[in-house]
Amino acid sequence: MSMQFPKIPKKVNIAGFVNTRVLRDDKKRQVFAKYEVQRQALRYAVRNTSLPARTRVQAQLELAESHSYTRSTTIKNRCVASGTARSIFRDFKLNRYQFRLQALAGELPGVRKASW
């Protein structure tokens, strides 16, 4: 897999909070999406025991040598509103604190203070 990354565009096209870390994470996501099919094909080849051992090892090597951005493990969910990487609600893509702020401001449809 010869990796030639598209450069990070100088013009940021992310709406919302932008940060170097956010940009980097977005980059990882784009790269992962781009190479996912290729990656899956290699993974298939590695796992298919009916293929000759040589091919499988080659596929393994290629996977190991590929850039880390083609792996999904490097992707980290970040808060869309503040760029924080901790305690993110997947439903809202928000940090716990941003979630609270927005919920109190009534910006999250259906979410309200609960007491039971």
């Binding site: 609600f89 604190y97 449809p109 203070k113 609960a114």
Partner: protein, 252 residues
């Protein structure tokens, strides 16, 4: 939470008293009791009424009992009138003959009554429509709308079935972790309604879905599962092709 403007049709009942100029279209007759009692005698009639959907005004003109056939006016089988409860009669008095000179067209009157329904002959489910919203009012209104629309498209409908609510709760520290002892709870309750279409023509089911999509209501999400049935000879090994056809609008 949400501001309710006067979208509800039930809020405008005062307008009933306005004299309606449709009078000229309909022949002079009493649209009330004897005529309305007829459909209760033959329930089979519901399967083949001439579609009263097309226009409010024109259909009322045709709906006169001038032709004294046993199957009466097309808009007649209003469900509320099938029952001879005293309250229902009040309704018919108020709506049908509150002023015999001036009355609303039948299809407009139907809005004030319970939605009309077709009878399912075979009861084969064809389409499941799930409505989701965070406010009761919106789902209820839209479910009612969908059922009425289905009636006019000749689709037998069952529902709306209130499915269990989805309650999601989150607990969040009010500020930094140091003050973990002070937390706040949030919740989101999703209300669901299931509307099932039974043995309808697939094309009219599609038309119905498209109509609902066109008139999508704010704050109401829709998801439809559509089943298509084929005869055994069509494709030998496949008896039934089930497909989730359309997620109409994104879920809330």
């Amino acid at each position: 939470m949400f501001s309710y403007t006067s979208r509800s049709l039930f809020g405008v009942s005062k307008h009933l008293k306005v004299s309606v100029p449709f009078r000229a279209l309909s022949t002079p007759s009493q649209p009330t009791p004897e005529q309305n009692n007829i459909p209760s005698q033959d329930p089979t009639e519901t399967s083949t009424p001439p579609a009263p959907a097309h226009a409010a005004s024109t259909s009322s003109a045709a709906s006169t009992p001038a032709d004294a056939a046993p199957a009466p006016a097309p808009v007649a089988p209003i469900e509320a009138e099938k029952y001879s409860a005293p309250g229902v009669k009040e309704w018919s008095e108020r709506l049908g003959a509150f002023d015999e000179e001036n009355r609303l067209p039948r299809s407009v009157q139907a809005i004030y009554l319970r939605p009309l329904r077709r009878k399912a002959e075979h009861g084969l489910p064809v389409c499941n429509l799930q409505l989701r919203s965070y406010s009761v009012r919106n789902v209820e209104f839209f479910a009612d709308f969908a059922i009425r629309a289905a009636y006019y498209l000749n689709l037998p409908v069952s529902g709306p079935v209130p499915l269990p609510r989805i309650t999601e709760r989150w607990t969040v520290p009010r500020s930094n972790f140091v003050h973990k002892k002070s937390q706040e709870n949030f919740e989101r309750i999703t209300l669901r309604r299931l509307i099932q279409i039974k043995d309808g023509n697939p094309r009219s089911v599609q038309a119905w879905l498209a109509f609902l999509r066109k008139h999508a209501f704010y704050g109401v999400g829709m998801k439809a599962n559509v089943w298509e049935h084929d005869s055994l000879g069509m494709i030998a090994p496949f008896f039934c092709i089930a497909s989730t056809i359309a997620i109409l609008t994104s879920f809330p």
